[in-house]
Symmetry: D2
Subunit: 339 residues, 4 copies
Amino acid sequence: MLTAAVAGASGYAGGELLRLLLAHPDVEIGAVTAGGNAGTRLGEHQPHLLPLADRVLQNTTPEVLAGHDVVFLALPHGKSAELAAGLGEQTLVIDCGADHRLSDAAAWERWYGGGHAGHWPYGLPELPGARDALRGAKRVAVPGCYPTAASLALFPALAAGLAGPEVVITAVTGTSGAGKSLKPHLLGAEVMGSLSAYGVGGVHRHTPEIVQNLSKACGTPVNVSFTPVLAPLPRGILASCSAPLSGDAAALREAYAKAYADEPFVQLLPEGSWPTTAATLGSNTAHLQVTVDPDARRLIAIAAIDNLTKGTSGGAVQCMNLALGLPETAGLPFTGVAP
Amino acid sequence: MLTAAVAGASGYAGGELLRLLLAHPDVEIGAVTAGGNAGTRLGEHQPHLLPLADRVLQNTTPEVLAGHDVVFLALPHGKSAELAAGLGEQTLVIDCGADHRLSDAAAWERWYGGGHAGHWPYGLPELPGARDALRGAKRVAVPGCYPTAASLALFPALAAGLAGPEVVITAVTGTSGAGKSLKPHLLGAEVMGSLSAYGVGGVHRHTPEIVQNLSKACGTPVNVSFTPVLAPLPRGILASCSAPLSGDAAALREAYAKAYADEPFVQLLPEGSWPTTAATLGSNTAHLQVTVDPDARRLIAIAAIDNLTKGTSGGAVQCMNLALGLPETAGLPFTGVAP
Amino acid sequence: MLTAAVAGASGYAGGELLRLLLAHPDVEIGAVTAGGNAGTRLGEHQPHLLPLADRVLQNTTPEVLAGHDVVFLALPHGKSAELAAGLGEQTLVIDCGADHRLSDAAAWERWYGGGHAGHWPYGLPELPGARDALRGAKRVAVPGCYPTAASLALFPALAAGLAGPEVVITAVTGTSGAGKSLKPHLLGAEVMGSLSAYGVGGVHRHTPEIVQNLSKACGTPVNVSFTPVLAPLPRGILASCSAPLSGDAAALREAYAKAYADEPFVQLLPEGSWPTTAATLGSNTAHLQVTVDPDARRLIAIAAIDNLTKGTSGGAVQCMNLALGLPETAGLPFTGVAP
Amino acid sequence: MLTAAVAGASGYAGGELLRLLLAHPDVEIGAVTAGGNAGTRLGEHQPHLLPLADRVLQNTTPEVLAGHDVVFLALPHGKSAELAAGLGEQTLVIDCGADHRLSDAAAWERWYGGGHAGHWPYGLPELPGARDALRGAKRVAVPGCYPTAASLALFPALAAGLAGPEVVITAVTGTSGAGKSLKPHLLGAEVMGSLSAYGVGGVHRHTPEIVQNLSKACGTPVNVSFTPVLAPLPRGILASCSAPLSGDAAALREAYAKAYADEPFVQLLPEGSWPTTAATLGSNTAHLQVTVDPDARRLIAIAAIDNLTKGTSGGAVQCMNLALGLPETAGLPFTGVAP
């Protein structure tokens, strides 16, 4: 058995990592750590993780995290680089934060500020070339939840030159994407019965990551307009993506079918079926559909994922599997919990 | 007191009409009618309308509806023309259905099929020229809920030549927009915890109505890509709208401020504030914000409305007020019910 | 016009007070005050209250609140007595907090701690004798939301000696009842999709208030088992109440019909109809139903209210109307906003 | 590998059975059948069950169901007896419907009408004596969801003589408990934002089942007052249970600790922690807490389960494991999917 530590275990991404690792046939859970919650029982924060309820959260330090085969970092942005440096080059470090996602230092500085911590292999194996870079890697940058949904929805068309390069994305998300932050607009009474846009006008930090992914996939700069919308559900992202069309419907469908033919976690739905986030709840699967709007001459692609599973922690475990040479699908659910 | 009849009183639009008319200082509620529910107590279907609970629903016939000053039709599409013909030219008929929204007979036939029933004054007073056509009108076509939100969000920019003409709209809606239809995907267990797109690829029937409104407002054909998304809330539409930008941010803001300076029911929010549907719940108000995405070179406009109030029945009452020469705001709430 | 000040205007009870007062024909809104939010625009906290959006929140001090005909206090418990003392005996002070609800000083000390601030006329006019004490009163203690629902559901049976005195209440509530508190268990992601009990075992502070109301109504000590449950909705309380039966169904129904025959805000539903909180949303109405379980030999009574309207701020305005000699129903909605 | 057939595979209980069986190490899924949906793809009805999406639903006949090691019946009440008769005595038949739950023919006739189909071993292994009857059984009656929650919450106290025998239960449930029924009150727009009681006054058909379980456990007739409440979430039951107390808190806690010490799927939470349904989502676990209300002299016990998992299909798989001699926990999740 391999041993895994999870830093940030009292948060949503940390909890989801532990849920998945508990079901993983090849992994044993080692240290579970937290910041302010260190010293408390995990069961206080994650009552759904019964088998770990009596674990006590340790402090998030290199010493506590050292000695595991893999360390997952589910921390606020800016906290990963230093911790990783203390963990040794032979430890697999999987960063669920943003620190190592952007390859362009200038983009990092513009969007996040502070020094660029560098670029790690990007943990979306379905992107062209990404899987090879993840096999045997010792450092992995897990993508953001929106970039996961949007990139999967759009790259086959853009890479095939069938649409683009000015894409428009409105992605609707459940509130766990914001983490367990104590902010008034995230209170249940505010969220339920409400829809709200935020980070409008291209200012959401996932924008440069989507640009990076799509530009790389199609070998030419892609222009991204991205608007996130908060909706009253705990989990789920539905990305509504469009781009000017330069191919026809049949070619499009073929491009998607080809791109995802061998992908275990991406499901192109039968024609006429449209994704629902409920069908992906708790699963590592992305559900996709693509069509053409002949009047508007645009490609429309819709992706549904669970933001905490495929969008964060499931993607992280998938990368761990690749990095450690395990079967890529080990421990990861294909079926959602619905209704 | 003027007398008002409501046809389709057991449905959601009908119920909202009655809720608003109960609070209207100049209107007395006359006949309330239904199709299959005729003969039953209104209280069975609309338990929130206590003062009308013991009213018995009558059949929807011209005879029952005749003799009122105003007749509201909240019926399935295709049912309005014949009823209206039986009501006499001096009765104000306000159609909440689609039958008389489109001016182009060919568009009607393409999108709805069957013969075009003709075009009535279009009930979105905030559109250029619309209010004048509504004053004293005897027939009014109430807009669809999505076209209301999208048109308000976009026309000031397009009319001013500051953006367009290829607009992209993803609008998220609560489930009352689908009416009280007994369909599996509208069951609570399916809807809660889920997001889903539908009518994707430009096939939603509100598309030609948005095209009509925006093309008329800017005097040139506008190309609309429209994707609706269903979200887990009873009421509310949040329309995320964008278009290629041809002006600057200051000019844009000025165009919106000017367009809505005297509009009682459209609120351009202070810069930095973004609309939430919760703030509009039960009110006849649209909350708007507009900004510029400098990287994507697009205008982004967000509108929030209550789909049953400003999006249907509140808009209908606003039109009634104009048509009958009452104060435009009579009986209509400015404040939402939140949280 | 009478002038009203609202202290605690950035919270949920304060917001609901302002929503109702905006629609009140005899009241003009004066000072709106807050604690930590003083100095900010009301629109930041209550975006649904458009007509007041640009009001700036003042500090909650006797000086700011002085000079109004009525002052509403929507403050944390323990803050009212001192403020009220500074307001003068001729100002009507309506306390939405708990400070003056309990008549028994020992009960106050046991349940809240600290010195008892005294007992004000209790603001549930539907209780026997309560309305008379409220007419012309200069101080009013607004009941808690649970005691409002439970007392209305049970007192007619207990006062008539038809059931009791060992009552069991499980009341389910939306999350606005907890106020705008930044606590992890109130986050949207935690609340949605979850039901949870809290304050179990008779430890919720509304218990002694229910005991007080029911004991007074039936002239003998009543024993109350009360369990509150948190459910995923913003507003609404459904109280499921039962007690050992000592009368028959017909006598029970008669007792309720008689108790509420002239009550404008309590609606005993037709036999066979059961209350839903949705039907009360935003209204000042309680919906009730009562029946008998012949096997268990118990009375079962169900009450639905909006916790922020009839349960707090609507009840407060109803009391203001009584205290100031206005029509009791002035400015208060009978109809809910549904669906 | 054992083979399992699922009748009623397009419904909620059927879908949950398939989700669990897909993860079961010893079971292969054979026939999947339906009534009106026969002939359609399973993916149309259960899009979350990707690995089975292309299965075509067959008709629910003994011929189709024959030849499997185990047949699960997730059918409307009254349909199981005849089907089971056609399946042969060596086939394990697990009935998720009510037909074989009640041992008393008179009770059956009173509550369901029609002839009593007989009594099968009752599928709640945690009840005293129940597990032994399930080992090697060829017919199993799966309990109702409410009786599962209420019986687990109450039997240890009643069996130990520490409380009872007049119990009061209010249980709040998500809407999947009503199945995929196309009824207006189950529409999303009606359910969201609302709480409603139903089956009030002891008329819900789960009442006699709770009476049966608790009376058997404590060896004396138990009197049950049961009120179900519908709340806006897809899954989950929170049962709030109380009974007059005849023991003390320490004895109570000991009774529960003892009753559940070796139970893999019942978790008595640490003192001070209260169950939430979210923590049980998709898991086969019941979370329990028990306390004493000293003023009301009552035991209060709260149970949370997922009505589709432990409350129906998970319980059914647990029984299958027992009946077939597999490890009782095989294929069943201990962890919920939260938030």
